[in-house]
Symmetry: C2
Subunit: 290 residues, 2 copies
Amino acid sequence: MRLRKFAVSGLFLLFAALGAHAQNKTVAERLGYPADSKLLIVHADDLAVAHSVDTASFDALTRNAVNSASIMVPCAWLTEVAAFAKNHPEADLGLHLTLTSEWKTYRWGPVESKDKVPSLLDSAGYLWPESPTAASHIKPEEAEREIRTQIENAIAVGIHPTHLDSHMGTLFNTPELFAVYAKVAHDYHLPFLAPRLPGELSKLLSLLSDKDVVVDSFIIANPSVPAGEWKDFYVNAVKNLKPGLTEIIVHLGHDDAELQAVTLDHPDYGSAWRQRDYDVAPPGGSATMM
Amino acid sequence: MRLRKFAVSGLFLLFAALGAHAQNKTVAERLGYPADSKLLIVHADDLAVAHSVDTASFDALTRNAVNSASIMVPCAWLTEVAAFAKNHPEADLGLHLTLTSEWKTYRWGPVESKDKVPSLLDSAGYLWPESPTAASHIKPEEAEREIRTQIENAIAVGIHPTHLDSHMGTLFNTPELFAVYAKVAHDYHLPFLAPRLPGELSKLLSLLSDKDVVVDSFIIANPSVPAGEWKDFYVNAVKNLKPGLTEIIVHLGHDDAELQAVTLDHPDYGSAWRQRDYDVAPPGGSATMM
């Protein structure tokens, strides 16, 4: 059975359309594995944002150093990712639904007609730079229009999305945005990544059905990890895997002129950060993270 | 007097708002120079299309290897160019009005709301890839909306455009598109580059006023120039300058991973081409083209 969708817990849940199963089985059992299996999804974010990110992510997908990834549809390199998807139909490529444009030198707007989604736009007509700012301005019905258009646009360029998640977690910021996200995901029968909102958990759980599955644990590098201990962070995460379904989210890229310019003045999730993530499973290396 | 706008002839004219002067003076005299002066503008196209193009063009502008350039407003690196413009208020930066998105892997849509300019869009919602296809589909009133929005958007991000021209010459393809272009340029009091359309010259000349100036000659590299004779092409062009106002149009970039990916499968105006243009006046070189 192919794991079409991916992990999460601690902070995150995953709702996945995996067929009707009793909720009292473990996630592993529901996915067709022995009850105490350790299952790992390594997921690369941000495809299409930059050529540097694309080449690093394509390489990792091809070598099975990651086994899932998601795409930013409003970004300029979408057709590069679409060409990869066409040539690699086995690649598990979802959509990193994008309602923010966070870099200084390099920006994008919505895919939908701007006059249909005015609450998504800053004064220059780009998506808001910060996720909380975006969430405070965006009208849920306009978020719905935009994410539906992102899905349709991805399909129009030949991508068959396997799952949905939310760039910078913007769709996790309010119950209203989350509800739109869940509705669209259900409409398209797509698994989707979702957070446990403090105090709002019951609302999220009410969206679960027998077809949805909650993922057990979730791992992502953070600014407290020293650069010199980057690989150890991931190696320890894998060594300490617990039974159940775990997702590791990575941000891959080459620390080159393009990516340094894209991520200007922002070391967190910046160019060197993405090179470190990529270097954990370098080309030609025999050990992947899987 | 500062030459705020640039050249053309042979195939091109330039209409420039330089104040009311008698049309029977030479261009040089009307610009305040002796009648037989040799005046040269070296103009870099395509700023904002890629970081590689931006850094090469910024370097050439800073060193006066070029003295004018124009910006593609719909492209993702616009805010990088806006930051340069803010820090270099002396830079002569116009707008390379953009109605096409010609590369395979890297694309952009309009700045205007898509539902207000549907004739500008291909099936995936990007601008048309080819200039003749674009010109055959685009409704002039929608072209007008888009180019006005590009000008307003440039102003919104802090750019004060000095002139207008047309990416891939799309606005020179039909008299109707040209008329829109001239109207918008006149409305904004901006000099604009324009072609002599075969058989349509009288229509263009009818747009000239005492405030407009026709540029005398126009030079651009073309695919028939061997790579090894690139510098000779420009050196000979400068040696053979004739009295009057000449414009050389260049396309600058670094032949790096980003630009190679942007210009995939398209050597004309491609990554190596732009590196060759850049190398004609390399960093640290004492001889510029001016």
